[in-house]
Symmetry: C2
Subunit: 329 residues, 2 copies
């Protein structure tokens, strides 16, 4: 299976590295508007071909899998083109900007030869299963608090009234959508779809959320997600129950440091993460492609859809509108 | 100055101990419906007199200061009686159940010979000033998250459909009002009165909040307070800024473990807390009485009023109604 990547940022770099570790794919080449950047990536990982745009990738019959890590607003149109060309597509989170795009991609994937995936580490991390298996030890759970604070090096640019992609509503930039998506997946994978969603945002000059607090309300529990690109936090996730709590230190995209405290006894889990944590999702998605497992694919797309709906509801609640929201195809 | 306490719970015990440490008062006696309990408290701390009700305390000319730590709903009527009798009154937090009671107490205190205080440790802890002095090091602050989770030993009783005072709407029991009041004070003392307040509650059979998440929104920042009596948490408070964060480990009623992380450099403060942390508030209030400092007293009552208003707004948002809310005097 030949892999081509779209985009040349650090996450693409990390993805290729993880992909090669699985030994399930061959790295074929890189698509970028900048041929220099594409060639540099190819040089680093042994790619052969460069592409200037998604159309060139689609036309190359040697391409089996396309990994898309362009600015968020381009995920949908590029993904759709690659799917229609019969490629397998792995799109970096967030796979889409809104529900309209999500519904369309799911429809498209039903008739495409290619499989479609949202690249979201949380779903595939060993820690998720460890947590799931120990939830019942906590007794009745009533509070989940989870955080994703990463200071953006684009913030100074934004503060000087420029509009860097990562924080631009034109490119579907949003701290909640970009970072909070991990927290939403985490909570939803463990506790299902919330009854109510509210988002309180600290907005910048353009109306984008630089940080905020998301409330996911369930009949018997409340989850709070704090997300920020405009400050430094001490990232931690807690699941609080009648008998004790489970604590994840650090980010919920890796879930690598997990402890449980029940009846005041503390136990730290061994979490068998690969050093490159993206290898877990790569193995899961590549093997799914290898066995052409469309059922699993649609189950995962269902999760993507639920998460997209939560994020869209949250954005609506806080009045955060993407350029993509007003587009018609 | 002769002190009489109303109530015989652990907090009264701790208060008398702290009060005696200040060497500013003499412990005169205890008021309780149970003479046995009153005598036991007197025996422990050298009190002489017992009283069956607040009226007996009011009639005793030897009493200078009354400390009230009865169930929450009784704070207001007992405080008012003692004030009208010309006593100095220190009422355990929450000083009142709602704004009507607050306004009435402030009016009453204007003409009373006695001074009036809400006993709230946070206001008087050395850690508060340490944090205040270092806030500017964080640069622009956008997120504050603070927690107060203490599993209630009354929860099993509540779960079996009884209505223990601490969790009873009849007695103005509420997890937010009882525990979250510390978080609200903490946030308000540092950042002032929020623009918007929302409270999301996990309610029990009676409609009382067993846990919940409070949002305090400011024009440029958001504070989230998680409170719980129905689970175990890992209590922590974070103030997150562009340059780093201040972290308080443990509860915001003691503020005894404080660190600052700026530009990835970590520094832990020395916090000069007394072993009995209530001694700080005792010193502050007793010395205020000793110098008859009504100006400071009214400044503190203004804070009590602001906090009462925030709590009342939050309760209204979540539909939590106390019996005291529908009473007319």
């Amino acid at each position: 299976m030949n892999l081509v990547v779209v985009g040349t940022s650090w996450i693409t770099d990390m993805f290729i590295s993880a992909a090669l570790e699985t030994r399930l794919i061959r790295f074929l080449g890189t698509c970028s508007r900048s041929t220099d950047k594409a060639e540099a990536m190819n040089l680093k990982y042994g790619g052969e071909k460069t592409y200037l745009n998604i159309e060139e990738v689609c036309m190359d019959a040697d391409v089996d899998i396309v990994y898309i890590a362009s600015p968020n607003s381009l995920h949908y149109p590029q993904t759709k083109k690659a799917l229609l060309a019969g490629k397998h597509v792995i799109t970096e989170k967030p796979i889409v900007s809104n529900m309209r795009e999500m519904d369309d991609l799911i429809e498209t994937s039903k008739t495409s030869k290619g499989l479609l995936f949202e690249a979201i580490t949380t779903l595939h991390m060993p820690g998720l299963e460890i947590i799931r298996q120990h939830l019942s030890m906590l007794g009745t759970i009533s509070i989940i608090s989870t955080e994703f604070n990463t200071f953006s090096n684009k913030l100074p640019e934004y503060r000087s009234k420029k509009d860097p992609n990562e924080l631009s509503l034109k490119f579907s930039g949003s701290t909640l959508v970009d970072l909070g998506i991990y927290n939403v997946y985490f909570v939803m994978l463990l506790f299902g779809i919330p009854t109510n969603v509210h988002y309180f945002a600290n907005k910048g000059f353009s109306g984008v959320d630089l940080s905020g607090a998301l409330i996911m309300q369930y009949p018997d529990k409340i989850a709070v997600a704090v997300v920020a690109k405009d400050n430094h936090g001490d990232n931690r996730t807690l699941i609080q129950g009648e008998n004790g709590y489970i604590k994840v230190a650090g980010y919920v995209n890796t879930l690598k440091s997990i402890e449980i405290v029940v009846d005041k006894e503390r136990f730290e889990f061994y979490v068998p993460n690969y050093p490159n944590h993206m290898r877990h999702e790569c193995e899961a998605m590549f093997s799914c492609i290898a066995r052409n497992d469309r059922q699993t694919m649609f189950e995962w797309l269902d999760l993507s859809k639920s998460v997209t709906e939560i994020l869209q509801t949250a954005r609506k609640d806080a009045g955060i509108v993407f350029a993509a929201d007003s587009k018609n195809d």
